[in-house]
């Protein structure tokens, strides 16, 4: 067992985990953050995406023991003061959600992209989401949602 400390969704968090525990297991089974979805568990589908020090990574390919000192954001940390973020609202407005299983990963991958490139081209959006699979809507609505969130004029 190891004691691992990290910042999770803005809160200092400490967990005791077996050495062989994956981050997705810790998030879902130990911390109850069920928005991080298990999909292929091989790094192909992106359902388990989290932001790790600001970058979108796959929590099924990360040991929790290797996350000591990291800053992690899951989908539960994206909303701001209890309200949906502009990006989340854009997914709803554009009809980019169908079954919703891929949506947490899609939103976190989009957030990582927009944090780095606030005004991405369509090509950059496609590339930014290349690690996330959706089996329902196709990708057009999702790309539109990211584009709309990026180019929405502020108040």
């Amino acid at each position: 067992m190891k004691t691992i400390a990290f910042t999770l969704n803005g809160h200092k968090t400490e967990v005791d985990v077996p050495d062989n525990e994956l981050l997705i297991e810790t998030l879902r089974e130990r911390l109850g953050l069920l928005g991080t979805k298990p999909g292929c568990l091989e790094g192909e589908c992106g359902a388990c995406t989290v932001l790790f020090n600001g970058k979108n990574i796959l929590s099924c390919l990360k040991l929790t023991a290797d996350a000591d000192g990291a800053t992690i954001m899951t989908i539960e940390g994206v909303a701001e003061n209890g309200a949906l973020s502009g990006l989340q609202q854009s997914f709803i407005d554009q009809g980019a959600v169908q079954c919703g299983y891929c949506t947490p990963g899609m939103i976190l991958a989009s957030k990582a992209l927009l944090d780095e490139k606030p005004r991405p081209t369509d090509e950059e959006i496609v590339r930014g989401l290349d690690g996330n699979l959706c089996r329902c809507t196709g990708y057009i609505k999702i790309i539109e949602a990211v584009r709309a969130a990026a180019f929405k004029k502020g108040p």
Binding site: D19, N20, F52, L61, L63
Partner: protein
């Protein structure tokens, strides 16, 4: 039920400590995790000791001098892709990083892991071979240096940690051409890495490496010879086909891959003429 077999995880902060830990029974190294952890999910009996390299600062980042660019083995593919020194000086490496897997994998996977994993479809060893990169290995007996050719052809004996990759700067034409079966993010079905220098309009120091259709990246020596010393316009298609046929005669390439290779060689010449 845990997805991974039980093991002890160690997070050393220095190369010396890591090498000591690696001597423990059934030890293995963990870099970005994109290959090793997937492998461990499919095995019931894994290593007893996993030595993570993420805390060793000496393995990260990149250093530049007037003549060299040194990549830390733990630099991620995404970090390498973003380096202006790579984009400007080593465009084939930049292209390979850009095409490798998906964004989250590029954020996690490391250059060292890509080389040391020894997967036949890994993109970077072939590109680094074509760029004559040197690998720096840390061993209990001290530092060793070797070419990528040597590294891919045989595993160094005893415990070692690939610590960095050194590239010599210099003007050269360099390309990485990659074919996938369905989507661009797939592993390559076949790929070719090329680099050459220009000496008064003629090709010099030519490197042509076939990747992924073969067990380890393989130099196409006859085709390299054919290019050497010639102006690109003087390479005759018939000679090129003959040289490629000779290079691939002992390799198990199907007709599709042979055709891809011929087309790629043609594309390289077309790009060089430009």
């Amino acid at each position: 039920m845990p997805h991974l077999c039980p093991f002890s995880y160690h997070a050393p902060k220095s190369l010396k400590e890591a090498l000591t830990l690696l001597k423990r029974p059934q030890g293995c190294l963990l870099a970005g995790g994109t290959i090793l952890l997937n492998t461990l999910k499919k095995t019931k009996k894994g290593p007893q000791n996993v030595v993570g390299l993420s805390r060793i600062k000496a393995l990260g980042g990149a250093k530049e001098t007037e003549t060299t660019l040194t990549l830390g083995a733990m630099a991620t593919i995404a970090e390498i892709e973003r380096l202006s020194a790579v984009a400007d000086g080593f465009p084939s490496l930049s292209a390979a990083c850009r095409q490798l897997a998906t964004t989250p994998v590029r954020n996690m996977a490391t250059v060292g892991g890509n080389i040391a994993s020894r997967f036949f479809w890994a993109d970077l060893p072939a590109v680094l071979m074509s760029l004559e990169a040197r690998l720096i290995l840390e061993t209990p007996a001290g530092r060793k240096e070797m070419s990528v050719d040597t590294f891919v052809s045989r595993t160094p004996s005893g415990p070692f940690i690939l610590s960095s990759i050194e590239l010599l700067k210099g003007r050269r034409a360099a390309f990485y051409l990659r074919h996938t079966r369905t989507m661009p993010v797939d592993i390559p079905a076949m790929a070719v890495a090329f680099s050459a220098q220009d000496r008064d309009g003629r090709l010099a120091n030519v490197h042509l490496v076939l990747n992924s259709g073969v067990a380890v990246p393989t130099r196409l020596k006859e085709t390299q010879k054919l290019f050497e010393g010639k102006a690109p316009r003087d390479v005759k298609p018939a000679d090129l086909r003959a040289a490629l046929a000779q290079d691939t005669s002992g390799l198990r390439l199907d007709d599709y891959k042979r055709l891809c290779l011929e087309l790629d060689a043609g594309k390289i010449i077309a790009r060089l003429k430009k």
